[in-house]
C-alpha cells in the first residue's frame, strides 16, 4: 500500500531561512562592514548571483556587544565563526584559564524530557509546517545575546597570563572558523560596549572561495597565529620560548597530502576489499628516505607503515599534534651518519602537515626535551601490557576502515549484546520516535562499530553543506544538524565515509508526506546528535542493560581494549 501524500503545504528550506542573528543585518551595517580592511579588497562581482556578498554578510553575520571582562571565546571550545572588532578592544589569552571551567552543555530540562516521555504518538519524521514555525520565532532582539561564558577581571588576567591585545578593526577566531577545531585562545572584552561583527563559518567559507584577496588575508592570519598556536598545543614544544616558537613557525613549511574528496573513493574501495585502501593513501615520507625535517600532523590522519615482504604493515596511526621523524633526527643530533627514515608515512584521506626543518629541531626542540617525549612511540607501545596493547589485526581493522576518525563512535561488545534493541528504543524515545542509528555495522572479533554518527575529529560531512546546517556545536564540538536550515541536498549523507547519515522524507501530523510546490517530497538529513539536548547524555548508553554499548574515542585504544576485555 502506498504512503499517503498531502497537498503542497511546505516550502523547502533555503540558505538563509535562519539568519545568524535574529534578523539579517540592515544595508547600512553591511556597507560599513564591507568597508573594513578585512573585506575592503573583496570584489562583489566575483560572487555568484545566487550567493551575493552583501547577503552573505547580512545573513551569515551578526553584531555582538560585550562589556569589559566578558569572555567572548574560551580556549578549548569548538568554534564556528570569526570575529571582526568594530568598536573597542579585546585581549587574547593563549593560556587556559582554569577559572572558566568546562564547556557549556546544551540546554536540557526536566520539563522538556517529561514532555517527550508523555507526548502523544506522532508520525515518523513529523515536522511542524513552516508557517507555524515562523510564527513561533518572530520575537526579535537588536543584538545577539552575550556568550554566557562569564566575566573576568581584565587587569588580573593581564597580570597573571601572557596576553595579546587586539583592537578595531582586527580579526580573530579565523582558525576555528576555517578548521572547525577548538579555539586556541580565550578572548575577553576590555572596553565598554565593545562591538564585534561575527561571521559564521559557512559565510567565511563562501567569501574565501570567491575572493582571492580575502583568502590570502585569512590564510596569512592562519599562518601567523595558527601555527604558533598549534606548536604551543603540542607537548613536544611545551618547553620552548616564544621567540623559539616564532622562529619555528617562520621557517616551517605547510604541506597537504591526499585528496579532499577521499571519502567517495574510499566508500567504493571499502565495498570491494578494505585492506587495499592503503594503496590509495598518498605517500608523505618513504621508509629509507633522507630525513627532511620533523613532520607535525596539523589536520587529518596519517598511517605509519613498515615494509614487510611485498606489502606494508601499519604499525601506528597519527593524528593532530602527533609527530613523525623525531627518533631519526635525535640520532642525527647524536652524531650518527647515514640515518634514514625507519618507517613510511601515508596520508589517510586528506592530511595537513607542518614540516619543521631538522636544524631547528636540533637547535630548539631536542635540548631540554623531557625524556618521556624523546622515547620512540613504538618502543613505548611494545612495553605496554598485552591486555591493553592493540593487536595488529585490530589496528588494521580500525585504520583500514578509518574508524580512528571517530571521537564518539558507538562500539558494541558482541560478547555482551543480547540484541534486545533497548538502545534503539531509547534513541527513538529521545528523538520523537525516530531512531538515529542502526544496530549494525562492521565488526571484528567482539567489537562492532555500529552505524551511528561517530562525531569525527575531521568531519568531512561538514565540508560541502551549502547552508551550514550540519555543524559542530559550539563548546562540545558535537556534530549536529540544524533542521531549520537543512535543504535536503544529501551532500552530507553522500560525503559521510561511514554511511552514518540518512535522508528522511518529512511528514505532517496526519502522517502524510509534506510536498513542495512541485509536488515532490521534502527530505532532511538525519543522524545521531549524541542526545545533546537530553539530561542523560546518549540515551543508547543509558539504556543498555548489559553495558554492551559505549561511545568512545577510537584512538583511545587503552579504554577501548580494556572495555572489550
Amino acid at each position: 500500500m502506498s504512503e499517503p501524500a498531502s497537498e503542497p503545504l511546505e516550502e523547502r528550506n533555503r540558505r538563509w531561512d535562519e539568519p545568524f542573528g535574529d534578523e539579517p543585518l540592515d544595508a547600512g551595517t553591511v556597507q560599513y562592514i564591507l568597508s573594513l580592511p578585512a573585506f575592503a579588497e573583496v570584489d562583489p562581482s566575483e560572487f555568484q548571483s545566487w550567493l551575493p556578498l552583501d547577503q552573505i554578510i547580512a545573513n551569515d553575520g551578526r553584531l555582538r556587544r560585550f562589556q569589559p571582562g566578558e569572555v567572548i571565546l574560551r580556549k578549548g571550545d569548538y568554534g564556528n565563526s570569526l570575529f571582526v572588532i568594530l568598536e573597542g578592544s579585546v585581549v587574547a589569552v593563549p593560556t587556559r584559564i582554569e577559572a572558566l571551567g568546562q564547556a557549556p552543555r546544551s540546554v536540557a530540562s526536566w520539563r522538556r524530557s517529561l514532555g517527550q516521555l508523555f507526548a502523544g504518538a506522532r508520525p515518523p519524521e513529523f515536522r511542524a509546517t513552516r508557517r507555524r514555525w515562523r510564527r513561533r520565532n518572530q520575537t526579535t532582539f537588536p543584538l545577539a545575546p552575550s556568550s554566557g561564558l562569564g566575566k573576568l577581571d581584565v587587569n588580573d588576567v593581564k597580570k597573571r597570563y601572557p596576553t595579546v591585545a587586539l583592537q578595531a578593526p582586527d580579526v580573530f577566531g579565523e582558525l576555528a572558523a576555517l578548521t572547525g577545531r577548538q579555539r586556541i585562545a580565550t578572548v575577553i572584552a576590555t572596553e565598554e560596549d565593545t562591538l564585534l561583527f561575527e561571521l559564521r563559518w559557512q559565510g567565511v567559507r563562501d567569501i574565501r572561495t570567491s575572493s582571492t584577496p580575502f583568502r590570502q588575508r585569512i590564510d596569512q592570519l592562519y599562518r601567523e597565529r595558527g601555527l604558533v598556536g598549534r606548536l604551543q598545543e603540542c607537548p613536544l614544544f611545551g618547553h620552548l620560548s616564544k621567540d623559539a616558537l616564532d622562529d619555528l613557525a617562520r621557517e616551517s613549511l605547510f604541506e597537504t597530502y591526499g585528496n579532499a574528496d577521499w571519502m567517495h573513493r574510499f566508500k567504493r574501495e571499502r565495498q570491494v576489499d578494505v585492506s587495499r585502501v592503503i594503496e590509495q593513501e598518498s605517500l608523505i615520507a618513504a621508509q629509507g628516505d633522507h630525513v627532511d625535517g620533523l613532520l607535525l600532523v596539523n589536520r587529518g590522519f596519517a598511517r605509519v607503515t613498515e615494509r614487510v615482504d611485498h606489502g606494508e604493515q601499519a604499525i601506528d596511526h597519527l593524528s593532530v599534534n602527533d609527530i613523525f621523524g623525531l627518533d631519526e633526527i635525535a640520532a642525527i643530533a647524536a652524531g650518527k651518519v647515514g640515518v634514514t627514515l625507519r618507517a613510511s608515512l601515508r596520508a589517510i584521506g586528506y592530511v595537513d602537515i607542518v614540516r619543521i626543518p631538522t636544524k631547528l629541531v636540533c637547535k630548539y626542540v631536542l635540548p631540554g626535551l623531557p625524556v618521556h617525549l624523546r622515547r620512540d612511540r613504538r618502543v613505548r607501545a611494545s612495553e605496554e601490557p598485552a591486555a591493553i596493547k592493540i593487536q595488529q589485526d585490530m589496528m588494521d581493522f580500525l585504520v583500514d576502515n578509518r574508524f580512528i576518525n571517530g571521537e564518539k563512535a558507538m562500539v558494541i561488545n558482541l560478547d555482551r549484546c543480547v540484541g534486545c534493541d533497548d538502545c534503539v528504543r531509547a534513541c527513538a524515545t529521545a528523538h520523537d520516535n525516530n531512531p538515529k542509528f542502526r544496530r549494525h555495522g562492521f565488526s571484528y572479533h567482539n567489537a562492532m562499530v555500529a552505524n551511528a554518527c561517530m562525531h569525527c575529529t575531521d568531519p568531512v560531512c561538514l565540508i560541502g553543506c551549502p547552508t551550514g546546517a550540519i555543524h559542530r556545536e559550539e563548546g562540545s564540538g558535537t556534530v549536529v544538524i540544524n533542521d531549520g536550515t537543512c535543504i535536503g541536498c544529501a551532500t552530507c549523507a553522500n560525503s559521510c565515509p561511514y554511511d552514518n547519515i540518512k535522508m528522511v522524507d518529512i511528514r505532517d501530523s496526519s502522517g502524510a508526506f509534506l510536498l513542495d510546490s512541485n509536488g515532490e517530497t521534502i527530505s532532511r538529513a538525519s543522524k545521531c546528535d549524541l542526545c545533546i539536548d537530553q539530561l542523560t547524555g546518549p540515551a543508547c548508553v543509558q539504556a543498555c542493560p548489559h553495558d554492551a554499548l559505549i561511545r568512545v574515542d577510537i584512538r583511545d585504544s587503552r579504554k577501548l581494549l580494556a572495555w572489550l576485555g
Binding site: W110, S113, L114, Q116, L117, L414, D415, R416, C417, V418, G419, C420, D422, R425, A426, T429, A430, R439, H440, S443, H445, N446, M448, C531, Q534, L535, T536, A539, V541, Q542, A543, C544, P545, H546, D547, A548, G565
Partner: protein
C-alpha cells in the same frame, strides 16, 4: 566458561556478600519478631513484596530512559542481586514448606516460574552472545526472515536454471525433495541450540551425493547450492539462539504480571482473615 570467570570477579563477590548480609539482617529481624510473639509473617511478607517492587523498578527505569536516574545497566544489577535476596525471603515466607491451598500453590508456582525464568535469562544473556559471535557475522534477528527468503529464492532459481539451461534434473529433484523445505523456514532449531552440526552434515551429504551425475556447469551450480545451504544453516543458528534470548522474556514478563495480580489477591485475603492478630 569465560562467562563463569567474569561472573565471579571481585565486584560480583562484593555484591553477593552484600546480599548475604542483607539476608542475615532480615533473618535476624524475623527471628526477633518471632520470639517477640509478633506475627512475623506480615513482616516477611511485606519485605518480600518490597523486594519485588524494587525489582520492578527496572521496567520503569527502561520506560523513562531519558531521565537521569542512573544507567539501566545499574538497575539490571540491582534486579539480579535483589532477585537472589527475594528468593531467600520467599523461602522464609513459605516457612520452608510446600503450600497447603490452591491459591498458595498458584503463588508458589508463579514465583518459582518467574525466578527460574529470570535465572535462565540471566545465564542465557551471558552464554548466548559469545556463541553468536563465534558463528560468523552477527545478524539482526528481525531481518532473518528477509535473508531466509532471499536464500530460498536463489536456491529455487539455481534449481530452475539447472533444468532449463543445464538439461539436468538432479539438482531440481534434490530441491523439490529436500532443499525446498529446508529453505522454507527455520529448521533444526534444537540441533542449533546444542551446537550440533549433524543435520547440516547430512544435508551437505545429500548434496554431495548427486555431484557424480553432473557436468562442469552442474558442479558449479551445486557448489552455489552448497554455499546457500551453509548460509541458511548459519541463519538458522542465529534464529535459534537469538530467538532464545527473546523467548524467555515471553515467560518471565507475563508470569511476573500474573504473580503481581495473585499477590494482590493474597494480601487482600490475608488481611480479610487476619482480624485480631498482632501485626
Amino acid at each position: 566458561m569465560a562467562w563463569l570467570t567474569s561472573l565471579l570477579n571481585r565486584s560480583v563477590a562484593t555484591n553477593l556478600a552484600l546480599v548475604c548480609l542483607a539476608f542475615a539482617l532480615f533473618v535476624l529481624e524475623n527471628w526477633r519478631r518471632d520470639i517477640g510473639l509478633h506475627d512475623f509473617q506480615f513482616f516477611n511478607g511485606w519485605t518480600l513484596f518490597a523486594c519485588i517492587v524494587v525489582m520492578l523498578l527496572l521496567t520503569w527505569r527502561k520506560k523513562v530512559v531519558i531521565l537521569p536516574f542512573g544507567r539501566v545497566g545499574f538497575w539490571m544489577q540491582v534486579h539480579y542481586y535483589v532477585g537472589f535476596l527475594t528468593v531467600g525471603i520467599f523461602v522464609v515466607h513459605t516457612k520452608y514448606e510446600f503450600p497447603g491451598s490452591l491459591l498458595h500453590w498458584l503463588l508458589w508456582g508463579l514465583f518459582v516460574l518467574v525466578s527460574l525464568s529470570g535465572i535462565a535469562g540471566a545465564i542465557m544473556s551471558k552464554v548466548v552472545p559469545p556463541r553468536l559471535e563465534t558463528q560468523s557475522e552477527r545478524i539482526l534477528f528481525d531481518r532473518i526472515p528477509l535473508f531466509r527468503a532471499q536464500l530460498a529464492e536463489q536456491a529455487e532459481t539455481i534449481a530452475a536454471e539447472s533444468v532449463q539451461d543445464g538439461q539436468t534434473r538432479s539438482i531440481a529433484k534434490l530441491h523439490s525433495d529436500v532443499l525446498g523445505d529446508f529453505f522454507a523456514g527455520p529448521r533444526h532449531v534444537l540441533a542449533h541450540l546444542t551446537a550440533s552440526k549433524v543435520p547440516q552434515s547430512r544435508l551437505l551429504g545429500q548434496v554431495a551425493a548427486i555431484e557424480r551425475y553432473l557436468d562442469e556447469a552442474g558442479r558449479e551450480r551445486l557448489q552455489k547450492i552448497r554455499d546457500l545451504v551453509e548460509a541458511k544453516s548459519n541463519l538458522d543458528f542465529h534464529y535459534a539462539n537469538g530467538g532464545l534470548l527473546r523467548v524467555w522474556l515471553f515467560v518471565h514478563v507475563p508470569a511476573t504480571y500474573a504473580l503481581l495480580v495473585t499477590i494482590t489477591v493474597h494480601v487482600v485475603l490475608e488481611y480479610a482473615f487476619a482480624a485480631g492478630k498482632a501485626v
